[in-house]
């Protein structure tokens, strides 16, 4: 966790982008399949696909902005509250820090002694109680933009495949577009977090197929 601020911010934005991309792919592809089965009207399929792509990207982007910015507000609120409460009460500060270490198995004398030596006791308390590290804020705008743009780019791939494919191959090619796009995202996210395995690609393919199958069945039911 000892990364520089900017690296961590970048990682968080990319994580948002990957979430957005996955949602963009799965909803677009799902809608294309269920409308194809339910109606077969090309204008309807295309219009629903493209409206849904934008609706999904916008909603992912705003959801990301909302959750990151609200989280940041909450952290700042907590930081302010705790700092105000404790700035004027050093005894309480030391008591709480000592208690935290005693709960982790440190003897009372040592915990008491240690608590006096922290150069920034308020930060120590925030870290212990809320897992907040000062100066580690994520930018809500960059998270939102990544989510929006990734959803649009990767979600448009299945749509593109559908548009260029001949009529009798439309659904299989759309499915292939969806699988390529989705596994590309899995590959990228695995590489970025250093946890890429071929198993994750297989797992992802199964997830996508379940998703499409469910939409296929629902399309029949409509």
């Amino acid at each position: 966790m000892k990364q520089s601020n900017t690296t961590e911010q970048k990682m968080n934005s990319i994580r948002a982008g990957i979430l957005g991309a996955n949602d963009g792919i799965l909803t677009t592809c799902g809608v294309l399949f269920s409308t194809s089965i339910a109606s077969g009207n090309l204008t309807l399929i295309f219009l629903t696909g493209i409206s849904n792509l934008f609706a999904c990207a916008l909603s992912m982007g705003s959801g990301e902005f909302m959750s990151v910015s609200s989280q940041r507000d909450l952290e700042q609120q907590l930081i302010k509250k705790e700092s105000n409460k404790l700035r004027n009460n050093r005894k309480e500060q030391l008591f709480q820090i000592s208690k935290y270490y005693q709960n982790l198995g440190v003897s009372k004398e040592l915990a008491d002694e240690t608590s006096k030596h922290f150069s920034n006791p308020i930060q120590e308390l925030l870290e212990n109680n809320y897992n907040i590290e000062l100066g580690h804020a994520v930018s809500p705008i960059s998270a939102a933009l990544f989510s929006l743009i990734f959803a649009l780019i990767f979600g448009s791939l299945p749509l593109l495949f559908m548009c260029i494919s001949p009529e009798h191959l439309r659904l299989p090619l759309t499915l292939i577009g969806c699988l390529i796009s989705s596994n590309l995202v899995t590959y990228l996210s695995g590489k970025l977090s250093n946890s890429f395995t071929f198993k994750s690609l297989i797992k992802n393919t199964i997830f996508v197929l379940i998703c499409i199958l469910a939409n296929y069945i629902f399309g029949y039911l409509i």
Partner: protein, 224 residues
């Protein structure tokens, strides 16, 4: 990673439900405005919206499952590697912790004493707690969060469908806009309460983003 969720860790399921509902409302609301502003028939508009609700609901649940299970995978990897690290190279773990406490202002002697005490009982758990910020006895459970958003998304997503199913006689675009905006206030309020966020800010943002999304798709629907 464990860092960000830990504050709201307890209400993870509720949060997933509210987020699912909010997402359902904004994305299906935007889609509905888009298709309602095109020249499709009422029947086709209904098919489009219902398909989108189903697709969104499935993708929402799978997305939630994938992201939470990735997180729990990452946690398990950390637990495994930290356990091995502690077993094979105890000095390295001790050095890491001592230097971490020296950065925080403790002198070398005190830091060594503290670390020795910390590692006396439940060494690996304490090491993980300090280095990565999560409790290994309290890791994430992906299933419930996924179920929560799977249920919440279609409930909120069917709200924009209502003005189309029951023709109110007024311009349906306006009715969808109003219905969605009012629901966004309610869900924004719930979201803020569940997570302890600032209520008016959340509602304000929800309204801005909701109307922005609907305006854009409205334009797209009109263009095609």
């Amino acid at each position: 990673m464990g860092k960000k969720i830990s504050i709201v860790g307890k209400s993870n399921i509720l949060r997933a439900a509210v987020m699912g509902a909010n997402d359902g409302l904004i994305s299906i609301g935007a889609l509905s405005v888009g298709v309602a502003n095109s020249n499709m028939s009422k029947f086709n508009i209904e098919i489009a919206i219902i398909s989108a609700i189903l697709a969104g609901m499935i993708s929402m649940a799978i997305g939630e499952l994938v992201s939470v299970s990735a997180e729990s995978n990452a946690e398990h990897k950390i637990i495994e590697s930290s356990t091995a690290e502690y077993k094979n190279n105890k000095e390295k773990v001790v050095d890491f912790l001592v230097s971490k406490y020296m950065q925080k202002g403790l002198n070398k002697h005190l830091a060594s004493l503290l670390v020795a005490d910390l590692l006396k009982t439940q060494a690996v758990r304490t090491y993980i707690q300090i280095k990565y910020g999560f409790d290994m006895n309290d890791t994430v459970n992906p299933i419930f969060a996924a179920i929560a958003s799977f249920i919440a998304f279609p409930i909120a997503g069917s709200i924009p469908l209502l003005p189309i199913l029951f023709n109110f006689g007024i311009n349906r675009l306006i009715v969808i806009f109003m219905t969605v905006l009012i629901s966004l206030i309610v869900i924004g309020y719930l979201a803020a309460k569940v997570s302890g966020y600032n209520t008016s800010k959340v509602i304000g943002r929800n309204l801005i983003f909701g109307s922005f999304s609907m305006l854009i798709t409205c334009l797209i629907g009109g263009l095609i």
